[in-house]
Each structure stands twice: as C-alpha cells, then as structure tokens.
C-alpha cells in the first residue's frame, strides 16, 4: 500500500502531490527562495547606494556613478565580512 504523501495545501480536500512531485516542488521553491533573497538584497543595496552615488538624475548614469554603485556593493560586502570575522574574534576572547 503506497505511503500517503503530505497534503500540499492543508484543508483542501482531494488534491495531493505524489512523493516525487513534492520533492521536485521543494527543489523549485528553494530555487525561487534563493532568487528572492538575491532580489531583496539588491533592494537593500539600492537603499544605501543610490543616496551615496547618485546626485541629480540626468539623461544617463555616468561612469563615475556606475563605479560608485559597483564599489558600494563590494565595500558593503567587505564590511559585512569584516564585522563577521571581528565579531567572531571578540566572542572567542569571551566578550572582552
């Protein structure tokens, strides 16, 4: 007797996913979550970097602005990495 698979949508009578389909769905959802995480991070960068890099909006972004935006992303990531690593050190020393 085939094992009952979990309902995809609790409370919805009748419709079910086979086990293979459910695994496939989990994979696809995980992929979309990763994409959504990327997008959310880009929104966050825009929040910070637009103010730093864009003066008054013109007919196009000049190269100085483009460089600033790219650098902004890289420096933010560097900052995050620096904080993570220093924090680990601080914690290791017992919060001194």
């Amino acid at each position: 007797r085939r094992k009952e698979s979990k309902r995809a949508c609790p409370g919805r009578k009748g419709a079910e996913l086979g086990e293979a389909d459910e695994a496939e769905l989990q994979r696809l959802v995980a992929a979309e979550q990763q994409k959504a995480q990327f997008t959310a991070q880009v929104h966050h960068f825009m929040e910070l970097c637009w103010d730093k890099c864009v003066a008054k909006p013109g007919n196009r972004l000049d190269s100085q602005t483009e460089n600033c935006l790219s650098s902004c992303v890289d420096r933010f990531v560097d900052t995050a990495l620096a904080i993570t690593s220093r924090f680990a050190q601080v914690v290791q020393k017992g919060g001194q």
Partner: protein, 95 residues
C-alpha cells in the same frame, strides 16, 4: 487581475497537483510583490531627488525629473544587480 492569483494550485478537485503549474503561480506572485517593492522604493527616492518645496502641483521640471529618475533608478538597479552577482560568484570561487 484576479484569476491568476487565486488559490487554484493546478489541481482539478481530487486530481493530482502539478508542480509546474504551482510554480507558475508562485513566480507570478513573487514578481508582483517585487514590482510593488520596486515602485515603492523608486517613488521614495525620486520624490526626495525631484521635489524640493512641495507646491500646489507637480510642475514641468518636477515631472521631467521624475521620468529621468525612474530610468536612472532602473539603470542603477541593473548596475547593482550585476555587481552583486559578480561578487557572489567571486566569493563562491574562493570557497
């Protein structure tokens, strides 16, 4: 706009659900949410850049500024997106 975002997950009341159809609707809903987020942030940023002392209506220069601002915001979005993607790939290569 209603039909695409309802709760029909690609089943037919007692039949098997289709992951492909479910994902189609998941992707649409994610895209809609993202567009709303984008517009909200763009509005905020462009209001700050383009509207000085708020008058009785948006004058011509303000309207032109808003239009340019929207385009530049999208350009900036693409630049930031590319930069972040590159950085992620670089970090993964170093792992």
């Amino acid at each position: 706009m209603e039909s695409g975002f309802g709760s029909d997950f690609g089943g037919s009341g007692g039949g098997k659900l289709d992951p492909g159809l479910i994902m189609e609707q998941v992707k649409v809903q994610i895209a809609v949410a993202n567009a709303q987020e984008l517009l909200q942030r763009m509005t905020d940023k462009c209001f700050r850049k383009c509207i000085g002392k708020p008058g009785g209506s948006l004058d011509n220069s303000e309207q032109k500024c808003i239009a340019m601002c929207m385009d530049r915001y999208m350009d900036a979005w693409n630049t930031v997106s590319r930069a972040y993607n590159s950085r992620l790939q670089r970090e993964r290569a170093n792992m």
